[in-house]
């Protein structure tokens, strides 16, 4: 059972457009949601994260919109550049501050930004 779902599986946008990546989850106990960016052959890099007490988080050109009632969130990448082309993973944890910090990852969205 996939606890964290992402859509679309792949997304193509033009340079300068806003890319919107979606994530939904099932476990109401999840309270921490990081997004990671991964380039081929590299480890994922933490991009931005939000806690369930907030409904929006911005950092540079990246914004997370969070809807606790609907159990979904989205990552908006403003003014997308070809260098943003990568796989983006949404993850969730219900163990924030706990001993294990178990992260459950979604299946990823492959973003391609065309010049």
């Amino acid at each position: 059972q996939q606890q964290v779902r992402q859509s679309p599986q792949s997304l193509t946008v033009w340079e300068g457009e806003t890319a919107i990546l979606n994530c939904s989850y099932e476990n109401s106990a999840f309270d921490y949601f990081p997004w990671y960016q991964q380039f081929p052959g590299e480890g994922p890099a933490l991009l931005i994260a939000i806690r369930s007490v907030s409904d929006k988080k911005e950092d540079g050109g990246f914004t997370i919109f969070f809807n606790k009632r609907e159990k979904n969130l989205s990552l908006h990448i403003k003014d997308s550049q070809p260098g943003d082309s990568a796989t983006y993973f949404c993850a969730a944890s219900d163990d924030y501050g706990g001993s294990g910090n178990k992260l459950i990852f979604g299946t990823g969205t492959l973003l391609s930004v065309k010049p």
């Binding site: 993973f89 924030y96 294990g100 459950i104 990852f105 979604g106 299946t107």
Partner: protein, 113 residues
């Protein structure tokens, strides 16, 4: 600044052979450490985590084991590789306490033939 190093960068091994992958964190004392596995084109699955030297918790059973012999070192191993062990192995760290952000290393690509 903290750095995370994984070794080897890549490994090609035969089915049934042993394996040992390593991870070292520099610049942070007493971090939480994690091992993840990622199939080609797939998602990340947490395998093990450790909050202190000598203590390792298993999250998923994949015929692998992990050990933390030193505060800054995490080892993943098996005595007998399976074809299904192929993939990308990632080590990650986080601060303890109320800090959930996990930071990943560069990974080790394992191919089992």
């Amino acid at each position: 600044a903290q750095t995370i190093h994984q070794w080897p960068v890549a490994e090609i091994k035969a089915v049934g052979s042993p394996l040992s992958l390593g991870c070292t964190i520099k610049g942070k004392s007493s971090p939480n450490l994690y091992w993840y596995w990622q199939a080609t084109g797939g998602t990340l699955q947490q395998l093990f985590y450790s909050i202190t030297v000598g203590q390792v918790e298993s999250v998923v059973q994949l015929n692998l084991s992990a050990s933390r012999p030193k505060d800054d070192q995490f080892i993943l191993s098996t005595e007998k590789l399976l074809l299904s062990h192929s993939g990308f192995y990632l080590c990650a760290w986080s601060l303890g306490g109320n800090y959930a952000e996990q930071f990943f290393g560069p990974g080790t690509r394992l191919t089992v033939l």
